[in-house]
Symmetry: C2
Subunit: 359 residues, 2 copies
Amino acid sequence: MTNKELAVVYCEGFFGEMDGKTANGLARHSDKYEITGIIDSTKASLDAGEVLDNKANGITIYKNIQESLERKGDSVKAFIYGMAPLSGAFSTKDRDVMYYAMENNLDIINGLHDFLTDDEAFIQKAAECNVQLYDIRKQQKNKQRQVFTGDITKVQCPKIAILGTDSAVGKRTSSVLLTQALQELGLNTVMIATGQTGVIQGAEFGVPLDALKEQFISGEMEKAIVEAWEAKNPDVIIIEGQGSLSHPAYLSSCFIIRGGQPEAIIIQHPPGRENLGDYPDIKMPLLEDEIELIEVFSKSPVIGIAINHENMSDSMVDETIEAYMDHFERPATDVLKYGCDSLIEGILATFPQLQAKLA
Amino acid sequence: MTNKELAVVYCEGFFGEMDGKTANGLARHSDKYEITGIIDSTKASLDAGEVLDNKANGITIYKNIQESLERKGDSVKAFIYGMAPLSGAFSTKDRDVMYYAMENNLDIINGLHDFLTDDEAFIQKAAECNVQLYDIRKQQKNKQRQVFTGDITKVQCPKIAILGTDSAVGKRTSSVLLTQALQELGLNTVMIATGQTGVIQGAEFGVPLDALKEQFISGEMEKAIVEAWEAKNPDVIIIEGQGSLSHPAYLSSCFIIRGGQPEAIIIQHPPGRENLGDYPDIKMPLLEDEIELIEVFSKSPVIGIAINHENMSDSMVDETIEAYMDHFERPATDVLKYGCDSLIEGILATFPQLQAKLA
C-alpha cells in the first residue's frame, strides 16, 4: 500500500503539547515515514488524531517502546525522537529507550542539537546493533554551506511565507495543508521546510535553519528556494516560518524574509495563548503589532490570518475569525477546522497570475 | 611603556578598504596588541593613520612580511590575519605568508570562518615552530553555549546599541570612541564586542555572533551583557552592532536587539555609499527607512546619527550633518572628525540618570 518506512515516534510526556511538536507533526503528516505508533505513557491507548484534533487517524499511543514494537512485529525500521525541549539535550531515560530501540534493529532519527553521532557510546552501540544514526540538525562542513548570492531574484513565481507570533503555533501544519490545497486546485506548489520536523516529515526542499551558523542562514534559505524553483518550475512556493520576528530567541524568520524574499505573508496566531510557549514570563505580542513588524521588516503585505485554536471553544474560534476579518480586513480562518479556502481566496486576489492559470 | 604583545597585521591589497576592516580597526585601536606594522604591498611605506583618517599614527605599512619583521627584530610575537573576505577562506598566498610567520616564531591570530586548527598541515607546522594558532571564530561545543533565559532584565543600566545601514560602515569604531568619550566624562562604561575584530582588539566582553548557531545567538548576546553588568557594575553599556536589519545576509543585529534589548540606538550611515559593500547589485537602504525599521523592530528610539564620511568632501559632510539634524530632529555627527560630543548630548537627554551621575 505504501513504500514508506515504518517508524515509531517517541514523545514521552509531551504528545499533543508544545514540546512534542515533532511527534505532533509526524502524526498529522509524513511523506517519508509511515507512523505505526506514538510512545507516551501519559496518553497510552488513546488515538493520536483524537488527542491532536479530535479526529481519529488510526495511530495508537503506546505506554512504552516495548509495547509499541510488540504490536507491530519486525516491520518497524525507525525510531524517531519526537520531542523538542528548549535545552536541546537528551535525558538518561531517553538514552535507555534509544538503546532498547537499537537492540531491536531500529535506526534512530534525531532532530535535537544534541548529536548522537558525536557520542562514542552511541556510535559503538549502533555499530554493534548494525543500525544507523541520523542527526537531522548536524551541520556539514563550512565549505559546503553557501552565503547569500542574490540568485533569489531569478525565482519568477510568487513566494508566500507562513510566519507566526510564537514558536509551535502551527506554521508547519498550515504550510502543509495550504500546499496540499493549492495542489488540489491545480497549481504546481512546492513547500520549503525550514525546521527539523519538516525535514523528518520528508520535505524535498529545505534545511533546519536554526542548526546553521549565522553567516550561512540567509544563503542556505535562498539556495533551498532556488533549487526548488529550478527543479520543479512551480507556480507558487510556500515557505514554512519559524518562531517570530518579535521572539527573544527564535529569529530564523528574519533570514526567511531576507534570504527568501517572500512577496506575501500569512500570519499564524493562537489568540488563546497568553505568554510565549518557551518563555512563560514573557507576554505574547499583539497580533496588530506583529503584522506591522512583519510588513515593515519585509516590505510585503500580510494577506491572511490563520488561527490556532488552542484554549478556545468552537464558538470563540468563530467569533474571533469574524472579529479579525472585520478589524484587519483580510481573510482569517482556522485551517484545521475550516480548511484553506479563505486563505486561497486571499492568495488568488493578491496574485492574479495564479488565478489566470486556473482559468 | 606597554604590556601589550607586539603584532603585525596582514592585509595584502585591502588596507583602508572594506575587506580590510579587521586591520583598519586594529590600526585605529587595540587594547590587547601593540600593532608594529601593517603588511600591504599596494600601500607600502605609507602611514596607516594617514591612509585611514588623514592623521598619522606612527604605524608603518610594509610591502611584505619579511620587511615588516626586519624593521622590528625579534620582539614581534603575533601575526594577525586582518582581512575579512566574503568567502571567509584563505588563498594559497595567504598560507605561504602564514608559514613564513610561523617559521619566524609568530603565533597566528585568525578571525575567518576557515579554521587553522581544522587543518592538519597547519597544526603540524605550528607544532614544529612551537607557535600557537588562535581561531577567534571557532565555536566551543554546543553544551557550553547558552540559550536566551530572560536574565537580560536583571541589567539595570542603559544599554545603547550602535547599529548601521550596512556592514563595514564604522559601527565598531564609533562604539570604541563613544565608550572612551563616556569614560573620560566620568561614566563607568563597558563596550560589548559582537564581531571578530572587536574580540581581537581585546574587548573584555563579547563574542563573534556570526560564528554561532542560530539557536544560541540571542542567548550568547544576553550572556555577554549580563556578565559585563555583574563584573563591572557599569553606568552604561555600549553594544557594537553588526550588518543591518535590512541586510540580505548579515542579520546579527536582530539578535543584538532581541538578546541585548537596548533602550536606545545610534545609527551609523555612509551617505556617500550607493550600493551595499558586499552586494554591489543591491542599493543601500534609505536612512529614514532603516530608522523606522529599527524603531519598529526594537520598540526603542534611534537617538543619534553617526556619519561615515567615505566618498564625501569635508563640505559635503558638514552639509549632510546639518541636513540630517534638521530633517530627523536628532543629534548627527561624524565622530572621526568631530568626536562624540553631540551623540553624548543625545544620550544624556535620553537618560537623565546618567546626567545625574555627572552632577
